[in-house]
């Protein structure tokens, strides 16, 4: 299966801008399905971004983050061709990870 994570990290001088998109329902626990049953909460809790063995960004998400979450941030110290690791874990213990190259 293809990864749930899509990430684009572009180095511009000393600063690397990262945009990440994760495929996830992010069910809030307040929405009902067609039969009127509550869809239980199912959302990502933690997303970890690492460069050179160090965390450069941690996202802590509640159920109010939109479906198929998007996040953008930037950090210093990466070079073109470096690895950027992304991993997430949700409230059901499901997880995924990906290693992307800095462009």
């Amino acid at each position: 299966m293809a990864s749930t994570i899509r990430v684009r990290a572009v180095a511009n001088g000393d600063v690397t801008e990262v945009q990440a998109l994760v495929q996830h329902p992010m069910d809030s626990g307040f929405v009902k399905d067609a039969q009127g049953n509550i869809i239980p909460p199912h959302h990502i809790e933690v997303v970890d971004f690492q460069h050179a063995g160090k965390t450069v960004f941690t996202a802590l998400w509640g159920p109010a983050v939109a479906k198929d979450p998007y996040v953008k941030f930037s950090f210093k110290g990466a070079q073109k061709g470096d690895d950027l690791s992304v991993s997430w874990v949700d409230n059901k213990g499901e997880s995924d990870s990906l290693v992307a190259k800095v462009l």
Partner: protein, 162 residues
């Protein structure tokens, strides 16, 4: 060779290929996953479970918040679809260590919290869900103090109920 045995053979090879593919699909992510793993224990459950803005801020930071014009919160004035509201935060403050976003009228006001180690810029963009028209607040932690900026976002169609 009868048609039946030929079919059986094809079926067998199809199953074999499928099984091999499945085994690879299971083994591969297991290897990649060892590189990094997000730690679920980092999630501040207490703060995310609070039902009011004040309690969420107290649970997350436990400090007073100072309104500051150095915090810049970008959000639409009117969000037609509360299920996807683009919100971004930036600031002119030095050494930002965390950014949090609060939607006051949501069932759980704390929407997202970001930890920024040294070297990471004090700016973040994401997309939130809003149940209804609400005040949206950005909290920026800099030098151990919490600064905030708020704005009202009108929601035409809510993004939290059914």
């Amino acid at each position: 060779m009868t048609i039946q045995t030929a079919l059986d053979r094809t079926r067998r090879s199809v199953i074999k290929t499928a099984l091999a593919g499945l085994a690879a699909a299971i083994a591969l992510p297991a290897l990649v996953r060892r590189a990094v793993a997000a730690d679920a224990a980092l999630w501040p459950k207490d703060a995310f479970m609070q039902k009011t803005e004040a309690e969420a801020i107290k649970a997350l930071y436990g400090k007073d918040v100072e309104v500051s014009d150095k915090v810049k919160l970008d959000a639409p004035e009117i969000a037609e679809n509360g299920a996807v509201v683009p919100v971004s935060v930036s600031s002119a403050l030095p050494d930002v260590t965390s950014i949090a976003l609060i939607v006051s009228e949501n069932p759980y006001p704390l929407a997202a919290s970001y930890k920024l180690p040294p070297g990471t810029a004090g700016t973040v963009a994401n997309r939130l869900k809003m149940a209804k028209t609400s005040k949206v607040t950005a909290l920026v932690e800099s030098g151990g103090k919490i600064y905030s900026a708020s704005r009202e976002v009108k929601v035409t169609v809510g993004g939290c109920g059914g």
